[in-house]
Symmetry: C2
Subunit: 545 residues, 2 copies
């Protein structure tokens, strides 16, 4: 049996596009004489469709896609993910299903059993879990259809679910597991995915074909890396990362393979590719081309500029330098060196006269109150207004340049430097920002060395340094990581050796600044716990603050 894995870039709600890319893949698979082609989870509508699933019209359009695919299934089996309607009134109205199409018929519809409802996932919001499991007979083999999470409940000390779908299938002796996935990138997830696929093929002693999506959907970056494992747990192949790919496998050859075939990956290079894909698909899928961003002379905006140029092309990125009286000389010279290195367009707009005008109009209200965060934010917000005005006038989309450390502790100005349509590095701690910049400079200096080595500063008051109000970033980031990624409490973090007062102050800052994060751009997710849809906290709470 010859099996095709189609790892495609879907677009949520764009049924026409999704059908087109799948029909093209089917055509190609037919030419290659494949017996079966495997697509990803909810491929008809894209993943995650979120509350669009509540619209009957949306489900009907998905059904129409399935009908069209069915019509193309005369001489090839098509396995594709789509929502299906729960025929009984009890329970949620939909299932998250795998359709097995062949001979122009829907041969079977298998529902997903394990519905991830944590972090960025909301599947039980929409779907009823499967309670029935039926193998599909095809060309003398019995096929177990599984959807993403269905294979992830094994091998955990603390399993999330009380059932394992493949345990249910096992009594009927399946010959083959197919898995339709939509599994987003986080930098450790590629290794986990290989190991879970391997663990399933070993436990059930049958080969497993796993098809992922490739492409970004707002904050989620689906990184491809689809997999084939044989019944001895050999990883026979891994499809490309971060791009579409279609590959063909002869089942006998798969079974005869004795050695893993897994490319080595570099963590920082994967993060770079993920962010570039995240930017590229945000623009491409919204029908946009050009980006604008404010270049401060600091490392965060420098990094975003490089990533934007890589994603969109240097001709599509405009940098705006907006110095004030508090800006250092090097903030301009370093920025100009960077834009010259990249060959991108830039403009310089002084904000002093705007700031003065605001202060003049506020004089009667401010009286002689001392300079404080109001004046600092006023500078940042004047820059935000300028960038948005250019964005509105020229049709460039503003990229946000906040990093995860500053988003965490609220070291940023709402409606100022927190403006932007997409947060590119909002899931990178400051220490990771440095690491990624070093990585980008490996093959020759792109980001001027001085941008990387000078002490970070917001330059909103005379001689300001981040270190005036924050601890060293390696200490801060380590506390934040324990709190945000590992959900450790103050006591546990202090027991790790951190200063008690600093820990309490830091966690208090994180919780008090939830209101700022609520109003910022979606953050490209590269970790297991990004700000945004995967981290949901009340604003009006009193816990650790």
């Amino acid at each position: 049996m010859k099996i095709a894995i189609a790892q495609l870039n879907y677009h949520i709600g764009h049924f026409k596009n999704n059908l087109k890319v799948m029909l093209e893949a089917i055509e190609q698979a037919k030419k290659e004489s494949a017996d079966l082609i495997l697509f990803g989870e909810l491929a008809s509508c894209g993943y995650p469709p979120r509350d669009f699933l509540e619209f009957e019209d949306f489900i009907q359009k998905s059904n129409t896609t399935i009908d069209a695919l069915c019509a193309a299934s005369e001489d090839i089996a098509i396995v594709v993910g789509a929502p299906s309607v729960n025929p009984v009134p009890e329970g949620k109205d939909l299932y998250n299903s795998a359709y097995f199409l062949h001979e122009k018929e829907i041969k079977h519809v298998q529902h997903k059993c394990l519905l991830p409802t944590y972090d960025v996932f909301d599947e039980y919001r929409y779907f009823e879990p499967a309670t029935a499991f039926k193998l599909v007979p095809f060309k003398g083999k019995k096929i177990a259809l599984t959807i993403c999470e269905d294979i992830w409940n094994i091998g955990n000390e603390n399993p999330l679910y009380t059932t394992c779908p493949l345990d249910e299938y096992e009594k009927d002796q399946p010959d083959l597991i197919l898995n339709l996935s939509a599994s987003p990138f986080s930098f450790g997830h590629i290794d986990e995915r290989r190991e879970i696929v391997r663990a399933n093929s070993v436990r059930y002693k049958i080969p497993l074909f796993y098809a992922n999506h490739a492409g970004a959907q707002t904050e989620l970056i689906f990184d491809g890396g689809s997999l084939v494992a044989n019944s001895k747990g050999v990883i026979v192949d891994e499809l490309k990362l971060f791009e579409e790919d279609i590959r063909y496998y002869d089942l006998e050859t798969v079974e005869a393979t004795t050695k893993d075939n897994i490319p080595r990956h570099d963590k920082m290079e994967n993060i770079r590719k993920a962010l570039v894909l995240g930017i590229r698909d945000y623009f491409a899928k919204l029908g946009l081309k050009k980006a604008i961003l404010g270049l401060s002379g600091g490392i965060d905006s420098a990094l975003v500029t490089v990533l934007a140029a890589q994603a969109l092309g240097k001709e599509n990125v405009k940098a705006v330098l907006m110095p004030s009286q508090f800006s250092s000389d090097h903030s301009i010279t370093d920025s100009i060196e960077l834009v010259n290195n990249l060959g991108i367009d830039h403009n310089i707009i002084e904000i002093q006269s705007i700031y003065d005008q605001f202060m003049g109009q506020l004089q009667a209200l401010f009286e002689d109150r001392p300079f404080n965060v109001a004046e600092e934010n006023l500078q940042s917000r004047s820059r935000g207004v300028l960038l948005m005005a250019i964005s509105n006038k020229l049709g460039h989309i503003l990229l946000n340049t906040s990093n995860k450390s500053e988003l965490a502790v609220g070291y940023g100005t709402l409606y100022g430097d927190m403006c932007g349509g997409l947060s590119v590095i909002g899931d990178l701690y400051k220490t990771e920002v440095f690491e990624l910049c070093r990585h980008l400079n490996k093959e020759g200096e792109v980001i001027p060395e001085n941008i990387i080595t000078k002490p970070p500063s917001a330059e909103l008051r005379p001689n300001q340094k981040d270190s005036d109000s924050l601890p060293d970033y390696d200490i801060l980031d380590s506390i934040l990581f324990e709190y945000i990624e590992n959900r450790k409490g103050p006591k546990e973090i202090i027991e790790m050796g951190h200063d008690a007062q600093l820990v309490e102050r830091t966690l208090g800052l994180v919780n008090r600044n939830e209101f700022k994060r609520y109003q910022t751009a979606p953050v490209l997710r590269i970790s297991t716990k990004a700000f945004g849809m995967g981290r949901r906290l009340p604003i009006v709470a009193k816990y650790l603050n």
Copy 2:
């Protein structure tokens, strides 16, 4: 048996406060010789605790609260909601539980079975559903403990769940149902709540005591209205709406009641009370006192000003008038009439010179491109910067004044009039804004009549009217309601008699403007489908747009 219902205002994560208010209620109940006191769902930690539940430290603090309540249970039974740890590794780590405390012991811990995971609810994100149901013997009665949603699966044509907890209890013949709730306000929900409580008491032929929370948690307004129904389905009592309340019931008297005792409520008055409570608790629970807002002369900001003054006191609200060259004379005169009616402080700041300064600095980039949305937004954003500067300098919190109709179609400026810490009327369609203003003026004119009757305008270009770019609000709102609240598709809405082109344009606008709503303030929820946490849509999608 004498039963106390304690309808309290909890504060999420504020364990000390929550324990204190419960202990005070217990003291009072003891004085009244109550046998049992009933609190709300997750009362130990407040509802919804959201991802704080993932912190072991948070759960430990909740457990400590339970221990302290247990110590107070020597001569009264205490029934209180709190998370409890799932003792087996399989499944989610927590249950959403009702603790039955008596004689200084935990007599029983009953878990919630039906876990709402839709709209604003995420319970399956955290909790494993109950599979065991055990009645609690107490003073010769067998008590069925249920938690909120547990009683809501009956009487629906399309039930969300495949089990009914009270059906499970029924075989053991319970004498009494207790329900611990955290059920947020929407304007139709008060009636639904009565009917579901009645339906349960009728179906199972036993009395039901239902305890809700009273108080707002960011966007969710818990409206109290706890209920007592007897075995014949008589609604014996309804506790106060929108405030704390403790009442006592003798079981025999409850059973002997033959007539409903339900106060009549007015929809608009309930919405007003809900919004006032929403503002008040946002400020009180964040430890804030003073609000600021921009007063445009239009109806939206006028309404928010009145509500803010009612919630915080007239001495705690500051209005800022920021006219431009496009502002009408009446925008100032009407606003001043309003602030005089309310007796609140106001300032006037002209934005023309700021706008000119921005335009001067942008001249080189804008060249002679025509006036467009960039210049319109620039005015709105200049106002946003001024308001935020005053907010930062004086410590007043900016209230957002966007309504649901404009949030829906993106008729607002991100980082401009969409600024603010809390969206007060973001869940009121424009037609409802008018209705609420009329209601507020019933006992005498508070909002000047001209503000209500003049044609709505953003006043961002000469002689601009909302009706230049939007249809009449009664038509627009009716299309939006079908799409947003009823999840109807374009075909169905057109079949209701709406213009096809207008419907398609409107739904396209709603979907294309998801990016703006993503970055706005939390919206006080008064309908069944508010923007924010209860409506989750992808930004980068291509569906109906």
